[in-house]
């Protein structure tokens, strides 16, 4: 299958700034999102986003599609940078500053959603590193199971095991929020 980023990366490699802007628009939010969920720190996630793109700029002139798509390669770089930061700092995660609530939701409901969202973030940070990595890649980054396994350097079976354990751990940690959300959905 053709890599949807291939042409764009070639243009970036040739010094096309518009192509660079398009590549940034297409991928920077996802790279920052991955890093934010892995590191639990919005500012550090932006640093990782920049670092990923410094590598993109460096490699673009010589990029040739091999086994992995460009986006998969970017995810692997971003994930490795996050894991490296986590290991160097000896931490599992951290705190994330809350963001603003949705404007269209009612104040009460928005507050509830915001609280739930913060609990989900906290629970994600409490997951063991590898479980969090698997869940972030498959659930939030929409990577296929084979892509995610490749990025993490593990088998698909090992990935499924990590995902199952991650979901089980999260269900326990978020039991109250889950019951609350389900009752909210049932009552409309």
């Amino acid at each position: 299958m053709r890599d949807p980023d291939e042409e764009l990366v070639q243009r970036v490699g040739a010094g096309d700034k518009r192509a660079a802007a398009e590549l940034v628009r297409r991928h920077l939010p996802r790279m920052v999102g991955l890093a934010r969920r892995m590191l639990g720190d919005a500012a550090e996630a932006e640093d990782v986003g920049q670092e990923v793109f410094l590598r993109v700029w460096k490699h673009a002139p010589s990029w040739k599609q091999g086994k992995a798509k460009f986006e998969t390669w970017m995810h692997r770089v971003a994930m490795n940078l996050c894991l490296d930061r986590l290991r160097r700092s000896g931490r599992n995660g951290g705190e994330i500053a809350p963001d603003t609530v949705d404007g269209h939701a009612s104040a009460t409901r928005a507050l509830d959603d915001r609280q739930r969202r913060e609990r989900v973030r906290d629970a994600l940070q409490e997951l063991p590193e590898r479980q969090r990595a698997a869940l972030v890649l498959c659930y939030y980054q929409d990577r296929s199971n084979t892509d995610a396994a490749e990025i993490l350097g593990i088998s698909v079976e090992a990935l499924e095991s990590l995902l199952s354990r991650a979901r089980r751990t999260l269900k326990t940690a978020l039991a109250a929020e889950r019951a609350d959300l389900l009752s909210g959905l049932e009552t409309g």
Partner: protein, 148 residues
């Protein structure tokens, strides 16, 4: 697809079949359609959990970050001519002075003909200025996973 396999995949990937392994999606969908209520109840419960996880969604990145990232993108001249990458920090003063003198001499020799092109020096200056804002540490940090 049997019940045991369905439950394993449900426990790993959640209720959204589009996240499931491509090769098993159709069979899983067909299995779910005719599955007993207890299986459908478990699937519904996982769907609710997916909704909860989805509250933690992506946020837009700032214009400032996009601008900083783009500022480091390679320009046409630097990329197409394959200019060597070097560090101004590592260059001795005599080399910097020599390069400056050489470029001045070249400038006089060539005159003012031609449109000014990409300014490589300003790119390096910008990269160095980033180092004061935290991003420079990124540029200089060796992570050890710079494969490919």
């Amino acid at each position: 697809m049997n019940e045991a396999r369905f439950m394993v995949l449900l426990g790993a990937y959640g209720a959204d079949l589009s996240r499931w392994p491509v090769a098993e999606r159709d069979n899983a969908g067909a299995f779910l359609e005719v599955a007993p209520h207890r299986i459908k109840d478990v699937w519904e419960s996982e769907r609710g959990f997916d909704h909860l996880l989805a509250l933690e969604r992506d946020m837009p990145v700032s214009i400032a970050l996009e601008t900083q990232v783009l500022a480091a993108a390679p320009g046409r001249r630097a990329a197409s001519r394959g200019l060597p990458v070097f560090s101004l920090r590592a260059a001795p003063r005599w080399a910097t002075g020599g390069a400056l003198a050489a470029s001045l001499a070249l400038g006089f020799a060539v005159g003012y003909a031609g449109e000014p092109k990409h300014d490589v020096a300003s790119d390096y200056a910008h990269m160095l200025s980033l180092s004061n804002g935290g991003a420079g540490s990124i540029y200089l940090t060796a992570v050890g996973n710079d494969e490919d």
